[in-house]
Amino acid sequence: MTTTSTSTDEVMDYDEAIARFDPVMGLEVHVELNTATKMFCGCATAFGAPPNSQVCPVCLGLPGALPVVNATAVESAIRIGLALHCEIAPWCRFARKNYFYPDMPKNFQTSQYDEPISFDGWLDVEVEDGAGGTEIFRVEIERAHMEEDTGKSLHIGGATGRIQGADYSLVDYNRAGIPLIEIVTKPIAGAGERAPEVARAYVSALRDLMRALDVSDVKMEQGSMRCDANVSLRVRAGDGPTSAAQLDVPLGTRTETKNVNSLRSVERAVRYEIARHAAVLAGGGSILQETRHWHEDTGVTTSGREKSDAEDYRYFPEPDLVPVAPSRERVEALRQTLPEPPAERRRRLQTDWGYSDLEMRDVVNAGALELIEQTVALGASAQAARKWWLGEPSRRANGAAQDLVAYAAQLGFAPADVAALEGMVVAGRLNDSMARQVLDGVLDGEGHPVQVADARGLELVQDDAALEAAVEQVIAANPDVADKIRGGKAQAAGALIGQVMKATKGQADAGKARELILAKLQ
């Protein structure tokens, strides 16, 4: 049962795999809700608390404890269902999913089985069309149901453990009982070679949607959003992945890859499983229906727990909880609270800001959309906001392997700082190169933009008399150049401007210096 991160599995070249097989995916995404308390008890849900400090008799499954449903969690579940264009069940129950793993102290997980709160929806995701633009791929949603998270196990001993010779698990139940929504797609067919890209785009779109709904932190690195990727292959038929002949071919045996903790991993893991399945099938073998574990470091999957034993969860209706029956009025009221869909919002902002497709893609990829939106709201132009956020701050965030929002938040670097910086440029206090120096200072922790500009003595010379004196001095020192300009060669002014800048230690406004020089010599 020991898994290692190395694998001797054969893989086929990806292009060859796609030439011979048609991939079909199913994605299960777990989203931890950002409620203050757990699904069925009033325990806190904060991440990173000391072990077993956020527990009570309910989430520890002690005898006699009675769970009660968190109203906010139900509300979030309904809003998620509506945002995914799902039907909302007028009446649904919870069910017990029974199993004997120690990560649930009750020996069951409270979930929903035959009666999910929402079902039959869809989510449109954007993928690149190969010609520099984007196109829409619709992912059908099977269900989005409510359940509770499990505890966290630390496995000690064996080949990978910390204590040699020991062989036990240490369990922290702080996470047990945190509300989860499990979102399950219908089989995703027709993506062909773009299947890995579609998987990533889907998880990315879900993450954007959860953020817009403000129902989850969706931090994949902290596990508040997790993806299990099912992949199967079938033989190629017809003339393309969306042809009727291809869609008629029965699905192959699938594997379910867990431990996929980043958008990039979603894409890589699906791609790897396609290549691995293809090698097995092409070699005359058959795929074992099993759970696979993704290893980020080595980029491979390895066999995990086998499904056969775990499959029989003996679901039955949860007798300690009464049904959830949201009224149609309640559902419609919640529908009114839905935010603008993230893709529509991006299109609107791109139009408002006048960004090219490429500029917009860079902004989205840098995670700078909200930062720019807030900066523009504080008075900066959209182009300036984009220039500053995608410059030094993005470079430093990348260097620190952090996303831009987290990096800026940790530094206390806010949209107001960028707006203030740009404000000094617009007001003529700073030129572009000075503004860059100020930005460096702010990011180095020297203070707010105005403080940094003051402290570093960065200020364009606004004193017209001083500038005029410098101009006259430079003209007097360069009679030859001055003659050329008098003779109509305005481009010769560049040499004089350079000297004026030098004389003023770079603090002059170059445009103003040029105007003055030309006024005096023409």
């Binding site: 898994t3 008890c41 806190a44 077993n52 906010t72």
Partner: protein
Amino acid sequence: MSSLTRDDVAHLAMLARIDLDDAELDRMVGELDVILGAVAKVQQAPIDGVAPMSHPLPLTNVTRPDVLRAGLTPAEALSGAPEVHEQRFSVPRILTED
């Protein structure tokens, strides 16, 4: 009629973490058989067209507001655990991965 074996009872005892000696195992096979036999009468009930009941009360939408309530301290939570390490419940290892 009996379908429960001594091995079944030993397996259940192991899953439930209950230590049973040989005499207790023998006795439990008989006692559990009687209980199962009694419960099996339920299977004779005519249930065609009857929706499964999960709760005897005609109630729906019993919820609580999303407000924190004090729970147990770690020491209280761990007080019944057979083994504790690093403020965590120490249990026999079943799986290598989560």
